[in-house]
């Protein structure tokens, strides 16, 4: 394997309770790129991200991040190595206001002060909402905040789960522009159901089906391969 990989997920298996959810997932994320995880509903995309973070720890396989084995480490230790998480459904803290939602993500004192300008440049709306409670934000605003929260500390890798889910077309455009701008500085592992969005953002892809990574490669090749798209991604 080439040593430019920032993240290397190697054949992991994950159980939730007694359910065998991931049955062999391998992902290769080169430094500086956007890699998209594709697959139908319930394929195991979210579980893959959670397994990387140790929220649903895999029982087998290995996960190498920046040369370190993540398997067996605790979630907060994994995150502190420099992984930001933007979960499905945003998980904004509703009892905290926007400012606190950002502040809580600090790993060192002054993280937020250092990144503030960059974050508000990326999402100018947030600046105006800074005192608003988390549960008073609209879906799009929550999504922006969720991404902004992952940008507060210095992260080498962002795990972003369905950032365009439920957003209006205008907002989707805005979100895509933001993610593109981010990828100039960090590596991104992106779960995206909207194939048009995924194909425009990502350079590489991995397809997960029924808990297994079944296909991976260059996005440019996948776009020219309608048979594969039909086989794995369109509604069965």
């Amino acid at each position: 394997m080439d040593n430019k990989a920032l993240l290397h997920v190697n054949n992991i298996h994950t159980f939730i309770g007694q359910f065998h959810i991931l049955e062999g997932v391998s992902i290769h994320v080169p430094k500086g790129k956007i890699v998209a995880i594709l697959g139908r509903n319930g394929a195991g995309k979210t579980t893959t991200l959670k397994s990387i973070l140790g929220l649903t720890p895999p029982s087998q396989g290995s996960i190498l991040f920046d040369g370190q084995e993540l398997q067996g480490q605790r979630s907060f230790e994994i995150a502190a190595l420099g992984i930001g998480y933007v979960p499905e459904h945003r998980a904004i803290f509703r009892d905290l206001n926007v400012s606190e939602n950002l502040k809580i993500a600090e790993r060192k004192k002054g993280d937020l002060a250092r990144k503030e300008a960059f974050i508000f440049d990326l999402f100018p709306d947030l600046k105006r909402l800074i005192q608003l409670q988390g549960d008073h934000l609209s879906g799009g605003q929550q999504q922006m905040l969720a991404i902004a929260r992952a940008l507060v500390p210095d992260n080498k890798l962002l795990l972003i789960d369905e950032p365009t889910e439920g957003l209006a077309p205008v907002l989707i455009e805005q979100m895509m522009a933001a993610i593109r701008q981010l990828s100039a500085e960090t590596t991104i592992l992106l779960v995206e159901q909207n194939f048009i969005v995924a194909s425009q953002l990502a350079e590489d892809y991995v397809i997960i089906e029924e808990g297994q990574s079944v296909k991976a490669g260059k996005m440019a090749d996948l776009v020219k391969d309608p048979a594969t798209i039909r086989r794995y991604l369109e509604a069965a």
Partner: protein, 535 residues
């Protein structure tokens, strides 16, 4: 105005319930107005009953707030909270009445816990050593058995001057009386039974270290069996050595100056003793809380039913331990001297006179209000209410707690050690419970059933206010406190019901029944309590 209207539409059930509660309250107040008396004196009963309600509510609130934050953050219903409240009362009582015993007990407890401060170092060396499987499996058990043997040898010989309920001179009741008169005398100090002090104290230190080795061994085995290996990159934890040496030193100092310290404490003013009692009780609660969380609750987090049963077990163990150490009879705890004056100028006629003569009672509208129970406790309740609120709203710890109540996985994913936050919150929550215990003790007295009745009151208060809501805990505690005191008052004066000749007098057993009834009614209208959030 429009926002008020909107919030009314959204929370119609809440507003209607609050309105009904207010009307009921006003009716209850009206019934207490004395039509015969003149001027302000008509409201004597109203004022006193409300103050008593505030007092009862304050104690319930102190305990309920910790319980509710613990439940919100880690989904643990800590059924031992009532028993820990009682521990606060008994430990505080001991400090106030028998400070010499606390001094005696201080040394062995500090020396014992010194061993546990070595845990980071032991964890670290076990990871470095990476023992073979069999040795690793045996180590914790060997450590545990050796610890029991060594401590079993040393502890019974340790000199702690005790008391005996059966014998008058050294009965706790007698001491309590002497304490309130400022006439405490230190009993003769005792020595180690049959062994040199060096061996005795050394054995206790050794026992603590052995127990810590056992704990570190169990933790290492848990990690090995898959629950995360932790990181091995940290360097030798030097700090834990310094703390260890500091604690051992402290323990020995107190041992050598035992008699002067005891004599000094026995002769200081009861107000100072009371302040010390509060500090000791809170410290005991914080340490016990941390200990219970780290050793018993943590391994079982994922299985909530087991934790519930476990804390119930802890509760009955605590009650038995209290019976074994303090015996079964009821104790009273002396009030601090600044709230206990009865001489000239008392009961105080004004606030100035109250402060000048340190009166135990103050004259309000022709009635007597007890300074400690009905003025000091409510003020303290409000101070704690505001302090904890500020802690929750303005500090990073509070921010993490509020976030963790909603989604602790997301907090972990931000790189925050939620486990450590759990321990801190559990410790502080139990600290609040023991604070409630020691503060309430001079007013309620001490019995071994103290915790049970409080646990029921706090569960009812939280059910009314909303299980995980902080304002809800305050509101619920206030409502329960007021309700109980109003019923008690009406039990004395009776309620005039139309078409009945005799006024109806609710009997004391009706108090808990009415409390539960109110809870049922509120839960029927608002299943999540007044301020609970719909999930």
């Amino acid at each position: 105005m429009t926002t008020l209207l909107q919030s009314f539409r959204k929370n119609r059930a809440l507003w209607v319930t609050l309105l009904v509660l207010c009307i009921t309250f006003l009716m209850a107040v009206r019934g207490l107005v004395d039509p015969i008396a003149e001027g302000g004196e008509r409201y004597k009963n109203v004022v006193i009953t409300i103050l008593r309600g505030l007092s009862t509510g304050s104690i319930i609130f102190l305990v309920a707030s910790g319980f509710s934050i613990i439940f919100g953050l880690m989904n643990v219903l800590n059924m031992a909270h009532g028993a820990l409240f009682m521990i606060g009362a008994y430990v505080g009582w001991t400090m106030a009445v028998r400070p010499d015993t606390v001094v005696d007990a201080f040394t062995p407890l500090v020396l014992l816990s010194a061993g546990f401060t070595l845990l980071p170092f032991l964890d670290w060396s076990l990871q470095k050593l990476n023992l073979p499987k069999v040795a690793g499996g045996l180590l914790p058990w060997v450590g545990l058995i050796l610890a029991i043997v060594v401590l079993g040898f040393a502890f019974p010989k340790y000199p702690i001057t005790s008391w005996d309920v059966g014998s008058y001179e050294i009965s706790p009741t007698n001491y309590a009386f002497a304490a309130s008169q400022g006439q405490l005398v230190a009993p003769e100090p005792e020595g180690f039974a049959g062994i040199s002090p060096l061996v005795g104290l050394g054995s206790i230190i050794l026992g603590g270290i052995l127990a810590a080795i056992s704990m570190a061994g169990f933790a290492a085995n848990r990690r090995r069996s898959g629950a995360g290996t932790g990181s091995t990159k940290e360097s030798l934890p030097w700090k834990s050595f310094l703390i260890f040496i500091g604690l051992v030193f402290l323990g020995w100092i107190v041992y050598f100056f035992n008699t002067p310290i005891s004599t000094f404490l026995l002769n200081i003013d009861t107000t100072w003793l009371f302040i010390l009692a509060v500090l000791v009780a809170v410290a005991t609660g914080v340490l016990l809380g941390a200990l219970i969380e780290a050793t018993l609750v943590r391994p079982l987090y994922e299985t909530h039913l087991y934790v519930l049963m476990l804390t119930l077990g802890v509760s009955s163990i605590i009650i038995e331990v209290v019976r074994a150490i303090w015996g079964a009879p009821e104790f009273t705890m002396p009030r601090p001297s600044i709230f206990d004056g009865t001489g000239e100028g008392c009961p105080a006629e004004s606030l100035g006179a109250l402060i000048e003569h340190k009166c135990s009672t103050i004259q309000v509208l022709g009635g007597r209000v007890r300074t400690y129970n009905e003025i000091f406790i409510p003020i303290l309740g409000i101070v704690v209410l505001i302090t904890v609120w500020i802690l929750l709203q303005r500090t990073r710890l509070g921010m993490i707690v509020r976030a963790g109540v909603q989604d602790s996985d997301m907090v972990k994913a931000l790189g925050i050690n939620v486990q450590r936050i759990f321990t801190i919150v559990f410790a502080l929550g139990v600290g609040l419970a023991t604070l409630g215990g020691v503060i309430g003790a001079p007013s309620t007295g001490l019995t071994t059933t103290l915790g049970d009745s409080l646990l029921i009151n706090l569960l009812v208060a939280l059910a009314i206010g909303g299980l995980t809501s902080y304002p809800g805990a305050a509101a619920g505690a206030l409502i329960v406190g007021l309700l109980q005191q109003f019923i008690i008052k009406y039990g004395q004066i009776g309620i005039h019901i139309p078409f009945m000749d005799e006024p109806f007098k609710p009997t004391p057993p009706l108090v808990p029944a009415m409390t539960v009834l109110l809870m049922v009614v509120i839960l029927l209208v608002m299943p999540n309590g007044l301020f609970g959030r719909k999930e």
